[in-house]
């Protein structure tokens, strides 16, 4: 694998949640790389483990119950999982920042938005309060909020505006990597487009790498350079947007595209992938997708398929992956 140009490299990451009743296998030995300036989309159903991956990177998994059982996360060659808390704090919000799914609850209700942005700046850059406030105002303007609203509280903003504030907060220290965890899921469609457009232009301006977590394939096709398809805590297929959209190799990916309604077709019903994701407390021995897969054979339920590269940079975790 090529080493240079990789901003972030995840190897063999596995996350489990231990509760009194059961162990949930949320992330199962995944590998992933994010190149500098690249936008990578993490696509998958709810509960596939996407958020756990992002939170592992930032070291903000709720521990307990979560536990990282194996793997390493290399950021510019530094192993984040072994970094002492003090060092990790310098990376959080500074080098790697995160945007959360629900802007309604992501902001502290009793502090002004200006304070919350300036707080991040003061934490990472040794600047005066006045300077931090000035930069916070700039950030607000950058995301399209008048700086006069610096002293307003979150409840005085609409959902879309709050998400802009969250984005301003995340970008306040010019992070190299932005983890966007379903940044538009909680917003309505018109606001989604606005927020995405804004993120797009900011990304180009600030040259930030982005890991975009979503279940919206449309967003991925417009926004991302490469894609990783996550299913039941595994990455079943990864490659460039062209690889995934034009030459999908995994039956699950095919199913995802198949389930999209088409404007030019006459079918009246949606075509979902039949069945449900396996119970994360009791994962199957073989391929995770086996029960729902139209092509499943005996061997699929016996042992998990290995990841095979069907084209440079395009890897599929399936026995039926077309060989090069």
């Amino acid at each position: 694998m090529e080493e240079q140009g990789n901003l972030l490299e995840i190897r063999d990451l596995a996350v489990e949640y231990h509760t009194d009743e059961a162990t949930i296998y949320a992330v199962n030995h995944i590998g992933l790389t994010v190149k500098k300036g690249e936008t990578i989309g993490l696509v998958g159903e709810t509960g596939a483990g996407k958020t756990s991956i992002a939170r592992s990177i930032l070291g903000i998994l709720p521990m307990p119950p979560a536990k990282i059982v194996s793997g390493e996360i290399l950021y510019r060659g530094n192993e984040l999982l072994r970094l002492p808390e003090r060092e990790m704090r310098k990376i959080r919000g500074n080098k790697i920042a995160m945007i959360f799914q629900d802007p309604m609850t992501a902001l502290n209700p009793i502090e002004t938005v200006g304070f919350q942005i300036a707080e991040t700046i003061r934490q990472h850059d040794s600047v005066s309060q006045v300077e931090a406030n000035r930069r916070a105002c700039d950030m607000l303007e950058m995301v399209g909020i008048a700086m006069g609203r610096f002293g307003d509280f979150p409840h005085q903003f609409s959902g879309g505006m709050k998400q802009r504030v969250v984005i301003a907060m995340a970008l306040a220290c010019n992070p190299e990597l932005l983890l966007a965890d379903e940044p538009t899921t909680a917003l309505d469609v018109t606001i989604q487009a606005q927020v995405l457009e804004m993120m797009q232009s900011l990304r180009e301006r600030l040259e930030t790498s982005v890991m975009l977590i979503t279940h919206d394939l449309g967003v991925v096709s417009e926004f991302c350079d490469s894609v990783a398809v996550v299913y039941a805590g595994e990455i079943v297929e990864r490659g460039t947007v062209e690889d995934i959209f034009d030459r999908p190799g995994h039956p699950y990916t095919l199913g995802l595209f198949g389930s999209l309604p088409r404007l030019d077709a006459t079918e009246r019903r949606l075509k979902p992938i039949k069945g449900r994701m396996p119970d994360p407390t009791n994962v199957p021995e073989g391929c995770r997708f086996c029960d729902r897969c139209p092509r499943a054979e005996d061997r699929c339920s016996k042992s998990p398929p290995a990841e095979s590269e069907i084209a440079p940079g395009h890897a599929v975790k399936c026995f039926f992956a077309p060989q090069r």
Partner: protein, 330 residues
């Protein structure tokens, strides 16, 4: 904010009037005759009837109520049946004792209770948390009068470290304050802990961590401040309970405060004393609730936005919300 406070102060009047009327009504229907108590068991029915007449006890309730109001407006709370001294003067000399006992106990409860609650919450599910909560449960469950007697017995009688009763030196205050506040330390600790545990699960706490803030700042600046909002409410309500508790502690420890005065009035059917004390205590309690609401508005911007700004759009919402505290008081 000024308008809000003025409005709330105005609201005090019907509340206190209502309480005074209910007290008068209750006194009228409870058995026991002040005239009989003053004259003793040997008194002739004629003498009792004559005294009842001079005290105005046979007048209709409304007449007595109007009479009582008329006095109060002039700052006159009547004369005690038993001591023949003006109730107002008595209350003024006794007030500082009760205020001191209640406010120091409240201070101790807050100063010890909040850190204990945070400690338990930050050590959630460890033996430290369990230990703190077990001790709290113990103190919450213990009635004040029982605990006060235990303290007297142990520190006063057995060890002879502290005075048994009466107020002479500052040492005399220690046992009453400990007895009154321990239960409330525990209440505040438990409340703070459960609010903290609730708040640290909120998304904005994850956001604060993701910003790279140190754990301490996340806990104290972001979590605790939010967790304390409901605790302020509890503290306000506690004040009422504290006054109730003070009635008992003052009797047990022989503190010449309002509580002791009220109890003496109650047992002696001394109507002016009872009416006067209840009046003062209810005004005090209502003022505390008002202070709590103002503190609420200062801490929580969402409430501040609702409590009347010169914004015509918001005023409508404000009026609806301002009716809420009324219901709480009622």
């Amino acid at each position: 904010m000024g308008k809000f406070i003025a409005k709330r102060l105005f609201m005090l009047i019907p509340v206190v009037l209502g309480i005074s009327f209910i007290v008068l009504l209750l006194l009228a229907i409870t058995p026991g005759d002040p005239a009989k108590m003053m004259l003793g068991t040997q008194a002739t029915p004629e003498r009792i009837a004559a005294l009842r007449d001079t005290l105005g006890l046979d007048d209709p309730i409304l007449v007595r109520f109007v009479h009582f109001l008329g006095q109060i407006v002039q700052g006159d709370f009547g004369t005690s049946f038993m001591t023949k001294r003006p109730v107002f003067d008595e209350m003024i000399t006794r007030m500082p004792y009760t205020l001191l006992l209640v406010s120091v106990s409240l201070g101790v409860s807050v100063v010890l209770g909040i850190p204990l609650g945070v400690y338990a919450a930050t050590h959630h599910n460890t033996w430290k948390d369990n230990g703190a909560m077990f001790i709290s449960l113990f103190f919450v469950s213990m009635p004040v009068f029982w605990f006060a007697l235990l303290l007297v017995r142990f520190f006063g009688v057995e060890l002879r470290w502290l005075p048994l009763s009466g107020i002479d030196t500052w040492q005399s205050w220690i046992l009453p304050i400990v007895a009154t506040s321990l239960g409330f330390v525990a209440t505040i600790a438990r409340q703070t802990r459960s609010n903290m545990l609730e708040v640290v699960r909120q998304d904005y706490i994850v956001t604060a961590k993701a910003k790279g803030l140190p754990e301490r700042r996340v806990i104290y600046r972001h979590a605790l401040k939010n967790a304390l909002i409901p605790v302020i409410m509890v503290i306000g309500n506690m004040f009422g309970l504290l006054i109730g508790g003070a009635l008992i502690t003052e009797v047990i420890f022989g503190i010449p405060g309002l509580g002791q005065y009220t109890i003496a009035g109650l047992t002696g059917r001394d109507y002016p004393v009872i009416q006067g004390s209840v009046f003062i205590l209810s005004v005090m309690f209502s003022l505390v609730i008002l202070i709590v609401d103002v503190v609420f508005a200062i801490v929580d911007p969402r409430i501040r936005a609702q409590s009347g700004r010169n914004n015509s759009k918001k005023r409508k919402v404000g009026n609806q919300i301002e009716e809420d505290p009324q219901e709480i008081e009622a």
